[in-house]
C-alpha cells in the first residue's frame, strides 16, 4: 500500500532543496564579479536578478519548511533529483536574460546540459557573449561535475547523517573518508589541485600559441573546466578546433581522461597507491574499449581516405574518440564532419564509445567502465560454470580499490542500470527518427545527450522540435543521476497523488 507523504516529509525536502539553491546563488557571485571586472554592466544586472531569485527561493523555503527532522533515504534521493530541476529552472535565468536564447526552454536545456556535464547547447551567437556569461557556462559544468549537492554539502550542510543520502542520490556512492562532508571536501581538494595545475598548463600553452595574456588565462581556465568536468563547453563556437595546436590537444586529453577517472581512484593515487591505476577494473576496461573504438574509426577513415597521412588520421581519430569515450564532447572537427567526412562506421564507433562512457563516481556519464567490466566478468564466469564439473564452485572477482567478488545481486543491479541506459538511448534514437532525422544521426545525438557527452553531428539546434529538447533535458538528467533518484522523485509524486493517508 502506498502511503501519502506527511507534512513533515514535504518540509524536510523543501528545507534541503532550498539549501542547494542558496548554493547556486553563491555560485552565481563568481560570474557576477567577472562581469564587474570587465565592466559588462548589463550582464551584472542579469546575475544580480538571478541571485536574488535564488535567494528568495532559498530563504523562502528555509522559513516555510522549518523542521529539525533529518533526511531519510527516500528524502535524500528526492532532494538530489528535485534540486537539480529547481536549480535548472532558476539557473537558466542569466542565459535567458542575456538575449542569446530562443526561449526559456532553450535556456533550461543549456543549464541542464551544463550541470550534467553534457556540453550540448542551444545558445545562439556564442562568439559574442560576455566574459561573465562564459564564466557561468563553464562554472555550471565544473560545479555539476563535482555535483551541485557536493557543493552544498561542503559549504552549507552541517554534517547531518542524512547528508550522505543526498550525496548518493546525486550519482556518487564512494565514501573516500568516514564522514560524507569530509568526502565532499576531499573531492574538492583533488579537483582544486587539478584546477590550478590544469589552468596553468592551458594558459601557458595558450600564451605560446599567440593569445593575449588575459584571454589565454580565461580560455585556459574555461577549457580546463570543460575538460576536467568532461563537460565539453568551450568559449568559442569552434570548440577546441579554435586553437589549431597539438600541444593544446595533448593537455586537454590528459585533463579529460583524468577527469573521467573515479574519485576513489584519484584518492587512492593521492594517498600513495599508484599501482591502482593499472589494476582498477575501470581503467582496464576504459583502455580496452577506447583502443577498440579508435581502431575501428581509424580503419574506416583510412579506407575512406579522409585524412592525408597516418599521423594526422590517428591524431583526429584519437582526439574525437577519447573525447567521446570520456563523455567530454570536445572536438577538433566541425559537427557535421562526423556525417560528411567520418561516415557511418565513424559515427557508429563514436556512438559506441559515448554509450560506454567512463568511470563511475567521476564527472563522466554513460553506462560506465565498471559496469562493462562486471558484465564481462559475469559472462566469463557463466561460461566457466558451463564447462566446469557440476560440483565445482566457480567464483569471479574484479579489482576496484580492493578485490570484490561477483555475486548475483551485484550483477543484477548492474544489468538493471545498463538496460535502463540502453532503453533511454533507444528511445532518443526512435523519437529523433520519428521527427525525420536520419536514424544513425538521431542515435548518435540521442546517445550523446543521454550519456552526457555533448558531441553533436548537427541534430541538436535551436530549431529542433521542443519535444526533442524536453526529451534530451530529461535524458541528461536521468543519465547524470543514474536513474534511481529520479525514479524516487517519480515515486514521491505518485504517492502524493495516489497514496493513502
Amino acid at each position: 500500500m502506498l502511503l501519502r507523504p506527511r507534512l513533515d516529509d514535504h518540509l524536510v525536502i523543501g528545507k534541503y532543496t532550498g539549501k542547494v539553491i542558496i548554493g547556486i546563488a553563491l555560485l552565481m557571485v563568481i560570474p557576477l564579479l567577472t562581469s564587474v571586472v570587465f565592466a559588462e554592466w548589463d550582464t551584472v544586472l542579469d546575475f544580480a536578478i538571478s541571485i536574488a531569485l535564488c535567494l528568495i527561493f532559498g530563504f523562502g523555503t528555509q522559513i516555510a519548511c522549518r523542521t529539525e527532522r533529518d533526511l531519510s533515504w527516500s528524502h535524500g534521493l528526492v532532494v538530489a533529483s528535485g534540486s537539480w530541476i529547481v536549480a535548472t529552472i532558476l539557473g537558466a535565468m542569466p542565459h535567458w536574460l542575456s538575449g542569446h536564447e530562443g526561449s526559456y526552454l532553450d535556456a533550461m536545456f543549456d543549464v541542464m546540459s551544463g550541470y550534467t556535464t553534457t556540453g550540448l547547447y542551444l545558445l545562439q551567437d556564442l562568439d559574442h557573449i560576455s566574459y561573465g556569461m562564459n564564466m557561468w557556462r563553464h562554472l555550471l559544468t565544473y560545479a555539476g561535475g563535482q555535483g551541485i549537492v557536493v557543493i552544498a554539502l561542503t559549504f552549507l550542510f552541517k554534517g547531518t547523517a542524512g547528508a550522505y543520502k543526498v550525496y548518493v542520490g546525486e550519482g556518487k556512492d564512494e565514501r573516500l573518508l568516514p564522514n560524507v562532508v569530509q568526502t565532499a571536501r576531499a573531492i574538492w581538494l583533488v579537483s582544486l589541485t587539478w584546477l590550478v595545475i590544469g589552468t596553468v598548463a592551458m594558459s601557458i600553452t595558450g600564451l605560446l600559441l599567440g593569445q593575449e595574456p588575459v584571454r589565454a588565462f580565461l580560455h585556459g581556465l574555461w577549457v580546463y573546466m570543460g575538460a576536467w568536468s568532461t563537460g565539453g563547453f568551450a568559449p568559442q563556437s569552434y570548440n577546441t578546433l579554435y586553437y589549431h595546436a597539438l600541444s593544446y590537444e595533448i593537455v586537454a586529453i590528459v585533463v579529460m581522461i583524468a577527469g573521467s577517472f573515479n574519485f576513489a581512484l584519484h584518492w587512492a593515487v593521492w594517498t600513495g597507491k599508484r599501482k591502482e591505476i593499472l589494476r582498477n577494473v575501470e581503467t582496464v576496461s576504459f583502455a580496452i574499449t577506447l583502443s577498440l573504438t579508435v581502431l575501428i574509426a581509424t580503419f574506416a577513415l583510412a579506407k575512406a581516405g579522409v585524412y592525408p597521412d597516418a599521423m594526422t588520421l590517428f591524431r583526429k581519430a584519437f582526439y574525437q574518440l577519447a573525447s567521446g569515450h570520456t563523455t567530454t564532447g570536445f572536438s577538433t572537427i566541425y559537427s557535421r564532419a562526423f556525417v560528411t567526412q567520418w561516415g557511418p562506421v565513424g559515427l557508429i564507433a563514436t556512438t559506441v564509445a559515448m554509450a560506454i562512457g567512463a568511470s563511475a563516481c567521476s564527472t563522466a556519464g554513460g553506462i560506465k567502465g565498471m559496469r562493462i567490466g562486471i558484465i564481462f566478468k559475469a559472462f566469463m564466469q557463466d561460461i566457466r560454470r558451463v564447462i566446469s564439473p557440476e560440483r565445482a564452485v566457480v567464483s569471479s572477482k574484479f579489482h576496484h580499490i580492493k578485490d570484490v567478488y561477483l555475486d548475483d545481486g551485484l550483477v543484477r543491479t548492474t544489468m538493471t542500470i545498463t538496460i535502463a541506459y540502453l532503453a533511454m538511448y533507444g528511445l532518443n534514437a526512435i523519437v529523433g527518427a520519428f521527427y525525420g532525422y536520419d536514424f544513425l544521426q538521431a542515435a548518435f545525438e540521442g546517445v550523446s545527450a543521454a550519456s552526457n557527452t555533448g558531441l553533436s553531428c548537427g541534430v541538436t539546434s535551436p530549431t529542433m522540435p521542443d519535444v526533442m529538447k524536453v526529451l534530451y533535458i530529461g535524458s541528461m538528467w536521468l543519465g547524470r543521476l543514474e536513474f534511481m533518484s529520479v525514479f524516487a522523485l517519480g515515486g514521491y509524486i505518485v504517492t502524493i497523488l495516489r497514496g493513502h493517508k
Binding site: 559588462e40 554592466w41 548589463d42 544586472l45 544580480a48 536578478i49 541571485i51 536574488a52 531569485l53 535567494l55 528568495i56 530563504f59 528555509q62 522559513i63 522549518r66 536574460l97 538575449g99 542569446h100 530562443g102 526561449s103 526559456y104 526552454l105 545562439q124 551567437d125 556564442l126 562568439d127 559574442h128 557573449i129 560576455s130 556569461m133 600559441l209 599567440g210 593569445q211 593575449e212 584571454r215 569552434y238 578546433l241 579554435y242 586553437y243 589549431h244 579522409v306 585524412y307 592525408p308 594526422t312 591524431r315 583526429k316 577538433t332 572537427i333 566541425y334 557535421r336 564532419a337 560528411t340 567526412q341 539546434s461 535551436p462 521542443d466 524536453v470 509524486i493 502524493i496 497523488l497
Partner: protein
C-alpha cells in the same frame, strides 16, 4: 483536495510551464551568408571544394593568434556578421565560419575582432580551401594569400536597461528581507545560552 483535482492541477501547471518556456522563440529573417560557397556549404560538401580556390567574406572574431610569420584568424559568415545579438540582431542560429591561415602582416590590418564588446571587421580572404589540411593536423581551413578589410568594425554599446535595475533592486531587497527574517527567527527559536 481530492486526488483527481491534484492531478488536474499538476497537469495544467506542467502544460502551462512548457508552453511558457517554449512560447517565446524569436522570429525574423536572419542575415544570409555573403558567400557563394558559405561555410556551411564548405563543411557539407568537403570533396567538392577541397583543394580549390575560394573567396570567403565575413566577420573576424576572437583574435589573431600569431605563429611566426603566419597567423590563425577565424571568420564568421553567419547571421551575425553584420550585426550581433548585443546590438539587437535577430537570433539566427549558431555561429558558423572558417579558420583561416594567413600571413601575419595581413592579419595586422584587422582592427576589431568580434566579441561581446565589439563587432569585428568584415574581411574578405582569397585562398585555398582544405577539407583536411595536411599541414595542420587534418583541420578544416583556408590558406589565404590575400586579405581585404571591407568594413572596419566598431565598439558595441552595452546600455544598462532601467527595467533590469528596478528588478534587481526590488528582488534584492525582498531576498535581504527574507534573509533577515530567517536569521532572526532562527536565532529567536534557539535555546538561550548562559
Amino acid at each position: 483536495m481530492s486526488a483527481r483535482t491534484a492531478r488536474s492541477l499538476m497537469a495544467t501547471l506542467l502544460f502551462g510551464l512548457l508552453l511558457a518556456a517554449s512560447g517565446c522563440a524569436a522570429a525574423g529573417t536572419p542575415e544570409p551568408s555573403p558567400n557563394d560557397a558559405s561555410s556551411t556549404d564548405l563543411v557539407e560538401s568537403p570533396k567538392k571544394f577541397d583543394g580549390g580556390d575560394v573567396s570567403f567574406r565575413g566577420e573576424a572574431i576572437g583574435e589573431a593568434m600569431v605563429r611566426g610569420d603566419m597567423a590563425w584568424i577565424h571568420i564568421n559568415d553567419d547571421a551575425y556578421y553584420m550585426k550581433n545579438v548585443e546590438e539587437g540582431a535577430e537570433l539566427g542560429g549558431y555561429n558558423t565560419g572558417m579558420a583561416v591561415w594567413v600571413p601575419a602582416e595581413l592579419a595586422e590590418d584587422i582592427e576589431y575582432f568580434g566579441d561581446y564588446k565589439h563587432e569585428g571587421d568584415i574581411v574578405e580572404v582569397e585562398g585555398i580551401y582544405n577539407a583536411a589540411c595536411a599541414e595542420h593536423g587534418g583541420d578544416t581551413d583556408i590558406h589565404a594569400t590575400a586579405l581585404d578589410v571591407i568594413e572596419v568594425g566598431h565598439d558595441v554599446v552595452d546600455p544598462v536597461r532601467p527595467d533590469k535595475v528596478v528588478w534587481a533592486v526590488t528582488l534584492g531587497l525582498v531576498a535581504f528581507a527574507l534573509y533577515l527574517f530567517d536569521h532572526y527567527w532562527r536565532r529567536g527559536s534557539e535555546p538561550r545560552r548562559r
